[in-house]
Amino acid sequence: MNIFERFMEIDRRWIFLAIGIAVIIPFFFPLGLPVVVTEPVQNLYDALDEIPPNGQPLLLAIDYAPATLPELEPMSLALLRHAFSNDVNVAVLTLHPAGYGLAERAMNQVAEEMGQVYGEDYCFLGFQPGISAVILGMGVNIRNVFPEDAYGTPLSEIPILDGVRNYDDIPLLISLAGWSAAEAWVYYAHQPYGQDVGAGVTAVMATDFYPYLDTGQLVGLLGGMRGAAEYEGLIDHHDAGVRGMDSQSVIHILIIILIVLGNIAYFGARRKKREQERNAA
């Protein structure tokens, strides 16, 4: 057994330990590396920034589940902070049943922080099942799908929804999702009704959305925790996204080193074996 082979035989729990340490250390010794803003994030920021204050509401679809919380919740918080500081009204809804509790948690946190009033600055429509049927139904009349808000108040009694009938009265819609919901908004709200749609998705999905950005089917895109960190930078309110970027840097470097080492060991072991075979022959 040569050195390469022995190197490759190490218990993988050592690698787990290395990752664990690499993620924790930057929390205590932050590097404070600057986060550069990319174009898809800037575009989403600009689209939200252009919404006139105290007028037609931004529709925020918090469609994620707990499994992708660390990537998507920072986005919710940053978007809500941006909207509220511009006095833009926000109507929140969800297409995922677990999104119900997660939407409330993000919405109430920011509303409390910034002194926003339910019904006058924001409202929560709740959850509705049946993705395509919900999105298409809202194109006809939002009240067909959400007759009342999450707490049983008829929509007609909510001030910020006064005069809001369907997508014609929504300047921008943003879906935050770790599954196909974000795409469904493109298919069923943008395509038939011309609604402007922005999305925040997990990094796993982000690369698949570039064709939609290119065509303009999406006005902007936040990809993963990095996208949230960029947005936090734009609104100048650093939170979980920016805080996580240092650990992200360190672990990426570590993983790249592991890939390189693994390949060196593999090819080294293979060459050694070939040499041995040649010598034996």
Partner: protein
């Protein structure tokens, strides 16, 4: 009645939904609005079907004294607890109710943590399995490393061309490849939908007569 009738219903409802997209007539659109609500209702009931199946699976495990039936008790009791808190606790949907607390402090941490396990597995696989054995996998790994560096702040510190290269990868080769896949998958989805509507694809009916 057993096979032909549901196939006919499937055909009619699918055809109507496909055709209404092109017909703005109010009569068609009114019916479309109503059918959308029907579909939503059916989806809600179909979802709850899953819960019933879950109860059955675990009930069987307990009744047949399966080895791991203790865990089945955990699942069933947790389910009953949530239903109890949801239906019989007055302020079930208010934030801070026991129902909400269970969600925020039990479901959220477990589900969120499950997938974060993968960060460890990715690291170990990076060392032990991701090999540049062919031209294809070499290309893949090189692109992956550039993107991984280019999307974190440290990449910019190493060299400013790394984020630019990342952007180019995303907006040129990635765009073309993903667009090709998108078209292919889209056509596949449409072909499947068509076969379902026409009754060629009947897997949804299950077995039996």
């Amino acid at each position: 009645m057993r096979r032909q009738f549901p196939l006919a219903l499937c055909f009619i409802s699918g055809l109507f939904m496909a055709v209404q997209y092109f017909i703005p007539h109010p009569m068609v659109q009114d019916m479309y609005e109503r059918l959308l609500i029907w579909l939503q209702t059916l989806l809600a009931f179909a979802f709850l079907l899953g819960t019933v199946s879950l109860i059955r699976v675990h009930y069987h495990k307990i009744r047949h004294r399966a080895d791991d039936r203790g865990y089945s008790w955990v699942t069933l009791l947790a389910l009953c607890l949530m239903i109890g808190l949801g239906f019989f606790h007055s302020a079930h949907h208010a934030q801070g109710s026991p129902f909400d607390k269970m969600f925020q402090n039990v479901q959220v941490p477990i589900e969120a943590t499950m997938f974060s396990l993968l960060a460890f597995y990715v690291a170990s696989a990076a060392f032990r399995a991701f090999r540049a054995r062919t031209l294809e996998s070499t290309l893949l790994l090189v692109a992956a490393c550039i993107v991984m560096l280019g999307r974190v702040p440290i990449g910019d510190m190493i060299h400013s061309s790394i984020p630019m290269a990342t952007r180019w990868i995303l907006e040129v080769p990635n765009l073309a490849a993903k667009r090709g896949i998108m078209i292919g998958v889209g056509l596949g989805m449409m072909a499947t939908s068509l076969k379902i509507i026409l009754g060629i694809e009947r897997a949804w009916m299950g077995g039996g007569d």
